[in-house]
């Protein structure tokens, strides 16, 4: 994975989050914690579902266990893309 792809991934995440939560996430950073996004765990699962469909991957529940920041989540996504 190159840096460019990682930036794109963050954009895909921001766009998906905007669709689900119906508000802007233009300033979201990798260091942003999930709890700061204003999205509950149900909403996060919805976002993950959208990412799965868009990127045609499956993210197993186990790999979500320790996810606390956007970076953690993108790592989980990335590990499935290269898998």
């Amino acid at each position: 994975m190159t840096t460019m792809q990682r930036t794109e991934l963050l954009q895909v995440f921001a766009r998906t989050a905007t669709e689900v939560a119906e508000k802007e996430f233009a300033n979201v950073l990798e260091t942003t914690s999930i709890s700061e996004l204003g999205i509950d765990s149900l909403g996060m699962l919805e976002i993950i579902g959208s990412l799965e469909r868009e990127l045609k991957i499956h993210i197993p529940d186990e790999s979500l266990a320790g996810v606390l920041t956007v970076k953690d989540l993108l790592n989980a996504v990335e590990s499935r893309q290269s898998a």
Partner: protein, 581 residues
């Protein structure tokens, strides 16, 4: 007390009866895994595997009546483990698994409390969830050990344990809207009666063709009793899928109904909204949902508008809105209390807002502001429902008061909680013992309409407001999600005043505060005393995602909410006490 007419007297006997029916190709449970593959477990195999688990648990030293905490996320393993305990006369105590994006400390506290309150001697879990439970072991004195489902795989034959109708079948821990979960005592007789009530009298099941489809969590009453226990008592096959699979992709619920020709399904209001919002028109067109004849709705306030939108969205898939089945129930009544008659669909009562604020649900006339309430139906045979005032006297039709119920489905109380039990299960009309539900509502010709929780009711200058109505109005604002808003009251200089707390980002806090205040004024002619915008995860919720209003009020009074607001913007500082899927 007598046994029900049409079902076995105990769950253990019901499972053994099914196993004796012989193996027809589709008689059993289908478990859809997260990757989409399916595992079919016919009745005979279900019984055999459960009997083996019962023997294994006895070989590990558990005896009839001992409590076994079960924390198993996979539906197939959960069902086999739960039934294993039941067949061996052991009392399962289902506990929800640790959720993603949540802090693990509050989870440990909850599990420790439930283990102590139930006196559980063992935790049954899986290899993946084990690390989340090991820290609890030293904190609960009764716990002797932890075992995983893989370790139960051995064949220990069967054990001969007699299970009687009055035996404790399981403990149903319910958090309601308080912070400390209580264990509702559920006997086999309660299960048999309630299963007969909602499967036969409510759903009018037909074992020759009915099939359930459910993604409801199995550690909650609606998923466990509604789709595992009720169907086992009445020989109805069910297709289960993981809750997370539905939330990630709501379409899978409809796909499975279509594919398996499901006839019975059930969900809380929010799930119908999620489908309307997420499922695409082109996907609906490829589905045929004409098979669905019972589409139940319960567990949280039912909004006629949500169900209408769902029906419109699914009309191209031949969804029949008459299949909607609004209902009312709670863990203390085992599960179901009232159902509308089959095929009657959603029927609303339009009442005057002003009258409702004074405790009288008058049918609307003229131009005055109105409110729609959904008819939740009537009590089952051998059961009774009534509305009473604060002194416990029966109220007339259309008078709002506390809903009470009695009958053979109703639990005897909370496990080892004498005082809490005496508050909720006590004498009422006719000298009988009634369950005081704590819900406010009114009756019209025996059919009930639910207004809200008694203890949460907000009274401002003599007008009664139900927090769920206020929260619903606010949650329709852009950028606000269901469950992220809590309405409660507080004493301000001797007057009860409305406070609204909503979760949001600091950058938008000012605009959100103004929008919320405006919405409340516009819809209820009521000015909130204070609107607080706090970071995500600050507001306390139950494991099913319902806001804990009294706990929120406590956090407001002790300054926790104000502090949460002041640290906003500092990532990771706010305690994440939320819940959800």
């Amino acid at each position: 007390m007598m046994d029900p007419k049409y079902v076995a007297p105990t769950l253990a006997e019901a499972v053994r009866q099914l196993a004796r029916l012989g193996d027809a190709a589709d008689r059993g449970f289908v478990f859809v895994r997260p990757d989409g593959t399916e595992r079919f477990v016919p009745w005979s195999e279900l019984c055999e595997r459960a009997e083996h688990r019962a023997a294994d648990l006895h070989a590990r030293g558990l005896k009839k009546g001992d409590r076994l905490a079960i924390v198993v996320p996979e539906p197939d393993e959960f069902v086999l483990s739960f039934l294993g305990a039941v067949m061996g006369g052991i009392v399962p105590v289902p506990i929800y698994p640790q959720l993603s994006f949540k802090n693990v400390e509050s989870y440990h506290d909850t599990v420790t409390h439930i283990a102590n309150a139930s006196g559980a001697s063992m935790i049954l879990t899986t290899a993946t969830t084990k690390p989340y439970l090991e820290p609890v072991l030293p904190r609960a004195a009764s716990l002797l050990g932890l075992v995983t489902v893989d370790e139960l795989a051995g064949d220990h034959g069967t054990v001969d344990v007699t299970v009687d109708p009055e035996d404790l079948a399981f403990l149903q821990f319910t958090s309601g809207s308080t912070s400390r979960p209580k264990g509702v005592v559920v006997t086999h007789r309660n299960l048999a009666w309630n299963s007969e009530s909602f499967m036969i009298h409510g759903l009018k099941k037909d074992s020759s063709f009915d099939k359930g489809v459910s993604w409801l969590p199995l550690f909650h009453d609606m998923g466990l009793i509604g789709f595992v226990i009720g169907p086992l008592f009445t020989n109805i096959p069910v297709v289960f899928m993981p809750t997370a699979s539905f939330v990630r992709n709501p379409r899978i619920w409809l796909d499975k109904i279509h594919q398996h020709r499901g006839t019975i399904t059930y969900a809380p209001n929010f799930a119908y909204a999620l489908v309307s919002k997420r499922v695409k028109e082109k996907d609906v067109a490829s589905l045929d949902l004409s098979c669905l004849r019972r589409t139940g709705c319960g567990a949280e306030p039912i909004q006629a508008k949500t169900l209408r939108e769902f029906a419109e969205k699914l009309a191209p898939a031949k969804f029949d809105p008459r299949s909607f089945l609004p209902s009312y129930g709670m863990a203390e009544a085992t599960l179901a209390i009232t159902f509308v008659p089959a095929d009657s669909g959603v029927r609303s009562d339009t009442v005057e807002k002003a009258g409702l604020e004074q405790g009288a649900a008058r049918p609307a006339e003229g131009e005055a502001p109105t409110q729609d309430l959904v008819n939740c139906g009537h009590a089952f045979p051998e059961h009774e429902i009534a509305i009473v005032d604060e002194q416990g006297n029966r109220l007339a039709d259309r008078q709002v008061g506390q809903i009470i119920t009695r009958g053979p489905s109703v639990s005897q109380g909370y496990y080892l909680e004498r005082e809490l039990s005496a508050e909720a299960f006590k004498a009422g009309p006719g000298g009988h013992t009634w369950l005081y539900t704590g819900d406010l509502g009114y009756l019209v010709a025996g059919e009930v309409f639910i207004c809200g929780r008694l203890k949460d009711m907000i009274i401002v200058r003599g007008r009664n407001f139900y927090p769920s109505d206020l929260e619903w109005a606010v949650s329709e604002l852009p950028g606000v999600r269901r469950g992220n808003v809590v309405a409660f009251s507080s004493d301000v200089d001797g007057d009860e005043q409305l406070i609204i707390a909503a979760e949001g980002m600091s950058a938008e806090a000012e605009a959100l505060r103004a929008a919320i205040a405006q919405r409340i004024v516009a819809d209820f002619a009521l000015t909130p005393h204070e609107v607080l915008v706090v970071p995500q995860g600050t507001l306390p919720r139950t494991s099913s995602g319902k806001p804990q209003r009294r706990k929120t009020r406590q956090m407001y009074l002790d300054g926790t909410l104000a502090r949460a607001r002041s640290v906003q913007g500092t990532a990771g500082q706010a305690e994440d006490a939320g819940a959800g899927a």
